[in-house]
Symmetry: C2
Subunit: 399 residues, 2 copies
Amino acid sequence: MPLQFATRLNNVETSAIRELFKLLGKPGIISFAGGFPDSAMFDVAGIKAAADAALTEEPGGALQYGATEGYEPLRQQLAAFMGTKGVEVAPDGLIVTTGSQQALDLLGKTMISPGDKVIVEGPTFLATIQCFRLYGAELVSAPIDAHGVDTEQLEQLIVEHKPKFVYLIPTFGNPSGALLSLERRRKVLELAVKYQTLIVEDDPYGDLYFDPASPPPRSVLSLSKDLPGSREWIAHCGSMSKVLSPGLRVGWMIAQPELLAKATMCKQFSDAHTSTFAQATAAQYLKAGRMPATLANVRKVYGERARVMGAALTRELGDAVEFTQPQGGLFFWARLTGKGGKVKDAGEFAKRAIEQGVAFVPGAPFYAKDPDVSTFRLSFATADVGKIEEGVGRLGKAA
Amino acid sequence: MPLQFATRLNNVETSAIRELFKLLGKPGIISFAGGFPDSAMFDVAGIKAAADAALTEEPGGALQYGATEGYEPLRQQLAAFMGTKGVEVAPDGLIVTTGSQQALDLLGKTMISPGDKVIVEGPTFLATIQCFRLYGAELVSAPIDAHGVDTEQLEQLIVEHKPKFVYLIPTFGNPSGALLSLERRRKVLELAVKYQTLIVEDDPYGDLYFDPASPPPRSVLSLSKDLPGSREWIAHCGSMSKVLSPGLRVGWMIAQPELLAKATMCKQFSDAHTSTFAQATAAQYLKAGRMPATLANVRKVYGERARVMGAALTRELGDAVEFTQPQGGLFFWARLTGKGGKVKDAGEFAKRAIEQGVAFVPGAPFYAKDPDVSTFRLSFATADVGKIEEGVGRLGKAA
């Protein structure tokens, strides 16, 4: 008799992307498929100094069990860091999570009963879809454009489905790269209050804008101070993964006290607490004041790569693709037009691209419902500008 | 309108122990309440060297996203470490978890549908009870004695309840300190095969035996090699927390391939992966060969503390308490007899003890059902021998 697994596993399936990733081992392939930052950008010296300081100044704290809510010195540093981004929050107004993926898991565990509706963007982060489905959520997909989620349609969907919460990546979304406009951000806050609906703002990319003179609108959480009564309806997830290091697995969540308390209880039985060693290292890194220079560096390098990729796409693929040039984040989101007799199905395009020696991810798996099979995602984060030029040239041959 | 939380939260309650822990801040209190190792025992120099080596030799791997299954060099080191303990396992026969607490969470997520039965020891690890209940498990409590779970009664309970799995801490259980006998270990394996029932062997304390000349019986997983067909029914959870450092949050699980694959999928959506920084540090620590000396040191120090506590309990409390001297682990498990007109309720005893300046944990919360309110747990891990003598003296006054 084989093992009988939990029924919740019937709600998820092995990712189509995983199958594609197996092909990435092919020699000489240029990959635009990943969703991760460039290892070459990590401030290894800074992290090494921070880890050393953590083990020298506070070895007991860094190596012992810690509070489920998070390591106090890190909570203080994160509260100050959020302050620089227009969010007033006390250290006990946030909890530390094992990457922001765990914040999503805790929101699922804390909020979702089987059969509950959750509204997500279409397309949205793949691991969010599966994470919430494991808790029995029925996902509703809200359409987006280059300015983020369509708030008129979002309002209709909230009215129709009465969701447990709405999950958005307002700033440089994955996979969309879209930036929710200031006007729509304010509208989202109004909807939260009007319908007493929790809004989850996932913000791993908000610091990764390319033009320091033209930062994106403030976060939905930050804007909540302009609308009385709205803040309690926002749960904001942050992360060190895209700007400093994913390997630390340090994220955080800011939310109203009751939700934080319930999420903390769930976290206690999920992993007790996030690695105090990683937390103390992150705290020392922030305390050392290295973050501004790190952010300036990643903005400059990723910004250049994005510009090179955009120009190459226009040059090599012309009107065979449509896309909006991203102003931040890690991704281009593009659509095959089929013009000039070129390929229109992104799955077929991905296969031909692999034959030409370049990889990317088709867009369909990023939709909870009704996928647009002509879409695809390109990451410009991990290839240098020379490889980007060459890779997009190969895409031109594959189209 | 307040937030509506998930129905699964109705299955758990705030721990009674948490309330007690709030009293620990009282000045001058001697605490036997904790469940953690002594920070003073951490090999800080060794961990610092390991972290430095990880960031020097493999900065990309240590700071980047990693495979959900675990960081390959650590899986290799853990496979070799398990080999020294009589378990043959390939690196891909285990997954790394964020502490062994996460292994329990993944077992819950992977295996438990709401209403499923799970058999645990009475008493058992408190966070296990709550963790499984959050997934909707109905817990069945199997009685134990100083030699661990009563396998005759366990068989009856398996027949009666057809559990999804049986959860045991066979070696120096928390809170019981009990050591499952070799004979019973073999019986557990027979039951697993006979009833095709998964046995979860949680083994965070197995390396913490006090007499190097007289180690405990081999793990149930190790013994499975003597009974054909039994190994596939064992899921074994290990941890670095009690012997090296809880703050790393590095645990692991060994199980049959299908269960590991499903647990890995669940982990992908729980925290993506365990901190690669912590994993690379643990891998370097094991590679450096420091573990044998670290183990020898903790065995010696905790062994002495256990001997001192046992002698003091006998001297100060006499026949007012019953206990079995532990041969390893971190805990004494004791029962108030009420003899000589002494206190018989451990909750009342705990209150009086706090007044005398010493803290411990009453036993009732460790039972999933039918608590024995005369029981209590004493940790000898974090107080030195002087404090142990003084603290037990205070217990004598409180009894």
